[in-house]
Symmetry: C2
Subunit: 363 residues, 2 copies
């Protein structure tokens, strides 16, 4: 990450006119509250369809209860330079096996106005540490992206990032500075803009942030804190032009939620036009799997580490007229195919509390 | 691990005459109960000296409360062949980012007779899954092995392995098979023999199990279960002869707890003669750091991944007459030196609840 081109502003427009968002408007919270219709709310309330996603979600919920705490009464005798503290905190994140750690300021518009229950949110921390955890490339190789392992892959990354964020927040509080973990179940912040500001990625066609090394194949937890940190700068690795040309996620989306068109500006942000409702509905109702991450799977940035892929990354940033060639090569090599040899999980569906071979509900 | 030479019995004697051990005889439990004198018990009760080990230990304690649970009422429709289930469970461990996963049977003599509080222990599971997590090679490079980060490195691995074990146990229970996680704070099993039986390492001079890829630089959590699994076999990678010749841990031990002599048989096990009392006392009272892992640091097996080290591993297994040469090369290259550029943490000591520069207590 240290060698990427840093820029003063994100490559997509982020204005000062952004209004704070109510967490009740979040896709899944709306689904739960019936905003996407009774079938979706019913499916959501029935709970997890797959035992491994259930185990990961159980852990995330358990960790979410550990997000907050009191800081130590006195400050530890540590350096006060934001640069040294940022280096320290990032190394701590990597020590605890995070895949990518970035730091951003925490603008007030990135704090929810109200939480899921409708209580007003106040959070005065000035810094946010974003912790990215991979959803496992090998498992993604074995998957179609929208089969039974999809949600478990999400929870692999959520629960692991939640675990790291809780330990990091506890450590910072022990140093005498307030800090709060924001886990998948217990968050007070809107994560995508923090990822842009921390320079861990650019907005991509599916409307979510893409990291040049992980693609879309990650989830995030955040630690906000009053510890004085030096924010990273946004990155530009050539993604906007790449996403304009590449339509693989739009073509591959089983929910038809990703349109082929251009970006729009909404609530002060520039973004591609994901149909959040369609996406959320499909993920919850998916009859042939547990959620969906097909866009993650088919994205040409879904690659393991390696020199060849380092070279391709360099080309997107420096020779954008070759993007089309790279996109075609990606198809020829067949990266988006499923590799059955890597399918290590069992297909199972929880129907009324009993695990069954999938499809039983419709039989 | 899959390419190592497997043998029918561990390379050190493990007889049928082993008696079950009372957890109250464990070094740290004895220390807490005053068995190593009031100074040690007092220091132990004062709690964690370093804020990062405290944060890791807090997490491990929190996870320990999640070790058990009820299994699902009915069994999931999954294959019943132990081989397929073992492959599945190992891939699950690697999916959740374990460094090494092994499977052993669970002999009754590896179950504690009584827990820390003196209650009789019963555990009828027939299989044990051992989950190894690295203590971070780069951090070990920056450390002396017995300075302020030592205990935090231990808790990095404990808390991460605990996290994985709790999710794995929950998942197995959801499949309809009873399973229990054994975390650093909440364990019913004696771990070292399980590591030998699962073939993740051999007993080494400091009396603990050494893995050929991680050296001594790991901690373990265990999941025991009634799920039918195929045990791995013990390994022989040439360690017994190597440890006989190499005396680096004995020479480097600041507690003089590791003698240069040969193995002995005690309670039916063959082992090198670590002075557990000296070791435990030093770790708890260490005036210039938080615990101690100097033997981990100076061990020639403390190496990162790489072809050169693959070659050295091959030589120990196949050309043992060159062990002396390898041991000398290790000293010449200076692997046991501290690399100050990798020291990313701050030296701090918690004295009566206030973090201070170390040495304050004696000033």
């Amino acid at each position: 990450m240290e060698r990427l081109k840093r820029v003063d502003w994100p490559t997509t427009l982020v204005t000062d006119e952004i209004k704070r968002v109510d967490q009740r408007e979040d896709g899944f919270v709306r689904a739960l509250r019936g905003g996407l219709g009774p079938a979706v709310a019913g499916a959501f309330c029935r709970g997890y369809k797959y035992p491994l996603s259930a185990a990961g979600a159980e852990m995330s919920a358990y960790l979410g209860a550990r997000a907050e705490g009191d800081k130590a009464a006195s400050k530890a005798p540590i350096p006060e330079e934001p640069e040294a503290l940022s280096r320290h905190i990032k190394r701590l994140g990597y020590f605890y096996r995070a895949d990518i750690v970035g730091i951003s300021e925490l603008p007030q518009w990135a704090v929810y106005s109200h939480d899921k229950e409708g209580n007003p949110v106040e959070l005065s921390h000035q810094s946010a540490i974003v912790i990215l955890v991979d959803q496992d490339y090998r498992t993604m190789r074995g998957s179609t992206g929208n089969d039974w392992i999809s949600n478990a892959q999400g929870y692999l990354s959520y629960s692991t990032a939640d675990f790291i964020s809780c330990i990091m927040a506890s450590y910072i509080r022990r140093l005498g500075y307030s800090a709060r973990a924001h886990t998948v179940d217990n968050s007070r912040v809107v994560i995508p803009p923090l990822l842009l500001l921390a320079g861990v990625g650019e907005i991509s066609r599916p409307g979510i942030v893409l990291n040049p090394f992980l693609g879309l194949r990650f989830k995030v937890a955040v630690v906000t804190t009053e510890l004085p940190l030096l924010p990273d700068k946004p990155v530009d690795f050539g993604l906007q032009e790449f996403c304009r040309k590449c339509q693989k996620c739009a073509a591959g989306c089983p929910a038809r939620a990703i349109p082929p068109g251009d970006t729009v500006v909404l609530n002060g942000y520039e973004n591609w036009r994901l149909d959040v409702e369609r996406c959320t509905k499909f993920r919850i109702l998916n009859p042939n799997g547990d959620y969906c991450g097909r866009c993650i799977k088919v994205c040409p940035w879904n690659k393991p580490a390696g020199r060849l892929h380092d070279m391709a990354r360099w080309m997107v940033a420096h020779t954008p007229w070759l993007d089309g060639f790279l996109i075609k090569m990606d198809s020829i090599i067949g990266y988006e195919e499923q590799d059955q040899a890597e399918k290590w999980w069992f297909d199972l569906e929880d129907i009324d509390g009993v695990l069954q071979p999938p499809g039983g509900r419709r039989a």
